[in-house]
């Protein structure tokens, strides 16, 4: 348990610090954010022709309302939390890669739902937009990370979690065989 949380926290801090560096911003955050905006705009234009994307900005060509996808709304912090949690947990590299692949798609998929919902909420009510943007969606995205990680951990083969389950990991007694 202690080893898992120590590794998780160290990875989380290291990845977050790397994200904030000019290199991290230039080569990772900006392209990632632009891609989130482009995918959101593409999905929106399938059923709403009055949407345009320029960089990280989504704009309604109908009423001029626009949202800019900033830090915290691009899903990178949630992805960092998931990556840290998966790598901190004792498992085979194959299981980790499967968890990362499926998990990142799940987190980013929900993040695109967040961006699209905020785009329309803002056109309806700025108060609802602020509430959803500042509080509710932040919590939901991280809840998504928890659910994805839980499913991954609980589906790991028994030997993959020996001495490392969240219920009895490294340093402590091994997880009971039947548990």
């Amino acid at each position: 348990m202690l080893r898992f949380f120590t590794t998780f926290i160290l990875l989380q801090v290291a990845l977050f610090a790397a994200e904030l560096t000019p290199w991290g911003q230039h080569y990772f955050v900006v392209p990632w954010t632009d891609t989130v905006a482009a995918i959101s705009a593409w999905l929106l234009t399938l059923f709403d022709p009055n949407v345009a994307a320029a960089g990280k900005v989504l704009r309604s060509t109908g009423n001029g309302f626009a949202v800019s996808i900033e830090a915290g709304c691009n899903g990178i912090e949630a992805t960092i939390a998931l990556v840290a949690a998966i790598f901190a947990f004792p498992a085979s590299w194959r299981d980790r890669l499967i968890g990362l692949g499926v998990g990142i798609v799940a987190v980013q998929g929900l993040n695109i739902v967040r961006v699209i919902s905020l785009f329309y909420l803002g056109q309806w009510s700025m108060k609802a937009f602020d509430w959803a943007h500042l509080y509710v969606w932040q919590a939901l995205i991280m809840l998504d990370v928890l659910v994805v990680w839980l499913i991954w951990v609980l589906m790991l083969p028994r030997e993959g979690v020996a001495g490392g389950s969240p219920t009895g990991p490294a340093g402590g007694s091994p997880a009971p065989a039947s548990a």
Partner: protein, 196 residues
């Protein structure tokens, strides 16, 4: 994945979503009371660590207002004290998330788990509020104000990092970590039902 496992996990997730509107509503309405310990901590730490900058701290609902000794210059030679407002709600939305998870888990002695998580989360809310205040005076308000704070380059970098970490990571990650730590028996039972 077995059916009992699917039902258990799906049931947990459904209950979390059922509790979230309730816990968010309680958190928003009761914020002045719920966040009082965090506000108190932020005030005590702030006034101790930066006594030369913070003259006083006022509280109104879930907002902290730091009254500083920093001066805003003006063309007419007159100047006013800089006042910085910080919204504690921005750093405490993990509370309703944690409460929803605890209530949805339906574990024995849940009030104790709820109180434990609440106590653990308060210092992190105070962290967010203080880092927000420091970021505002050391970075956002520009060089005229920043020069009065006496912070050097590496301190401003540390403040920027603390603010980003306190705003983007801590409010949501800490509640989840505390929930995992306090719900090991539940996770063990879920694992038993997963059949993995």
């Amino acid at each position: 994945m077995t059916d009992p496992f699917r039902r258990s996990l799906a049931g947990l997730i459904v209950r979390v979503f059922a509790w979230l509107p309730v816990t968010f509503a309680i958190w928003y309405v009761a914020a002045p009371i719920l966040l009082w310990p965090a506000a108190f901590m932020a005030e005590i730490i702030g006034r101790s660590a930066w006594a030369d900058i913070i003259r006083g701290v006022e509280r109104a609902r879930a907002e902290l207002t730091f009254v500083t000794t920093l001066k805003a210059g003006s063309a007419g030679g007159r100047s006013g004290d800089i006042v910085v407002g910080v919204d504690l709600l921005l750093y405490s939305f993990g509370l309703p998330l944690y409460a929803a998870l605890v209530l949805a888990a339906k574990e024995p002695r849940w009030p104790r788990r709820l109180l434990f998580g609440y106590a653990v989360l308060m210092p992190f809310v105070a962290w967010g509020a203080l880092a927000d205040f420091l970021k505002t005076i050391a970075i956002t308000m520009g060089s005229q104000i920043a020069s009065q704070t006496g912070f050097v380059a590496w301190q401003r970098e540390a403040i920027a990092f603390s603010y980003q970490f306190g705003a983007l990571i801590l409010p949501t990650v800490v509640p989840l970590v505390v929930w995992v730590v306090t719900h090991r028996p539940l996770l063990e039972r879920l694992r038993a039902r997963s059949g993995a």
